[in-house]
Amino acid sequence: MALVLEQVLNGVQLGVMLFLLAAGLTLIFGIMGVINLAHGSLYMVGAYAAAFVAQATGSFLLAIPAGLAAAALVGMAIEYGVVRHLYARDHLDQVLATFGLILFFNQLVVLLFGRQPMFVQIPPALAGAVDLGFFSYPVYRLCIIAVGLATAGALFWLIQRTRLGMLVRAGATHRDMVQALGVDIRLLYTVVFGLGALLAGLAGLMAGPLLSVQVGMGEQILILTFVVVVIGGLGSVTGAFAGALLVGVVDTSLRAFLPGLLRGLMTGSEADALAGGVSAMGVYLLMAIVLLVRPKGLFPAHG
């Protein structure tokens, strides 16, 4: 029982990380109609900037603003320099341009930091585990869950209750009307893109101490984020939240429990091999099922 709860918490932790990426991706698509493959690069930028500052200064507190700022700035630069010129283009041009950006950023990181992964220590204040009654759980992971949920709450508040959110919601469907209201839509787009980048950077810097910070980390999670967005429904932040938690929990549980279940049915090595394959494919099969039942995702954005 404790093991199950622990794995559920691990799943939620992966889920909130995916949400931070999926929310940005889906907002950027919902409002500007752009598919941004380089969203994973922003995650990587956040992770590297934070890792670099943490290693240089020894302070995780300084690493946090560094990671956030780097991701947001790079994001806004991308919007200003590249993505802005792609709004009116078809998705193919957007895919190619942002694919080019991925190649560039990945190789740039190799140039600057080499191919060896960087490791970041969990900040001492957050190291260790906390006793949750009948099992103990790492403090740092709990912190990620808390930060992720708080960010999700703030994001929903921002979209539902503020003027920026109103513009964001209106801008998605009535681009011309928003412009007619005298809102600088280009600035709005840059701000939204920067916000998406900030969320990606947040996910990246939090992931640093858990995973190794390395080239290609962005794309690994990006493709998983695509699965989240397809399951949740493109353009819907609610869908991104539901999809992210679902994918996080399913992925983690399959990896944790499938080998044990299969070992009851066959020999150990075969069971491990099969379980490895099925659990790696699990969330994609989940996506296939959702597509069969609800092609527009669980929470379709418009009709």
């Binding site: 598919i35 193919l92 694919f99 080019g100 493109l234 296939a288 092609p295 527009k296």
Partner: protein
Amino acid sequence: MDEPRTPAVTKDAKPPRWRAWAPYAGLLALVALPFAAQALGQAALTTLATRMVILAIAASALNIALGLGGLVSFGHAAFYGVGAYAVGILTTHGASGAPFLGFIPGSELLGVNLLAAMLASGLVAGAIGALALRTSGVQFIMITLAFAQMLFFFFVALKAYGGDDGVSMRRRNALPGLNMRDDMTFYFVSLAILAVWLGISARLFHSRFGLLLGGIRQSERRMQAIGVSTVRTRWLAFVLSGMGTGLAGGLMAVFGRFVSPDMMHWTQSGELLIMVVLGGAGTIFGPVLGAFALIGLETLLAGWTEHWQVILGPALVLMALTFRGGLARLGRRREGP
């Protein structure tokens, strides 16, 4: 007849003369290439050209879905890889004598294995297409990418066939009467397959199917209103496209005597897309030009610096932002508004 605002385009649409000769000149150059390479003592050039030719088949196959059907698939590396694995697995079993799955006999014959590669990739494309085509636009891009990644993980986990390390084959598949170990022979076999493939695809482009598929790309609603089952037509295009890509993957596996999950890495899907767009989506020869140009550029840059992607990346961004129509449309009248 009164023609108040007949535009000039119908009259001066004739392309310049060199365009008509360009494909023949290109073919001649391709035939002459290995002899020139040998004369210059650059045997590696033939190997490079073989890779280009094989990828040209893959790009041309993707073009059926992308250029003609307007289906932006970011998952064609999956079909490329499945084709390659079909060859790799059959060849392994052909060498060992033990049948695959206990009842499918292995083979070391090129013709048999390439057919198997097309069949396998066609089946996979059929399944992925049936799901992905329930959506369109950005979702379609994401879903094709995701399913390709799923297959990538599947083959990584497939320890029976090498997992991460892939499958190595002891010798190239045989084509009776030819010495396939000779790189020049293999080059010409590949070139012949490319030529046949281009011939088929040209017929397809100008067939009833091609005309209707192109119509669906332009307006799905219009085509439904004249009674076309648009989903079925698209699906068929996706399957044909996947089969061609699988053929290329199979050929590449024979050429390198090696298959690994890396062949279906997502960047491979991206590169195929670039080849098609760079060369000219929707044209017959464009993807071939694109494959040669991209591989050529990559080889040049890689010879210059290890970090060539720092240059290639921005070049792609620039291409996407400014370059319309592709290499194959140079010297042709701009189409559409």
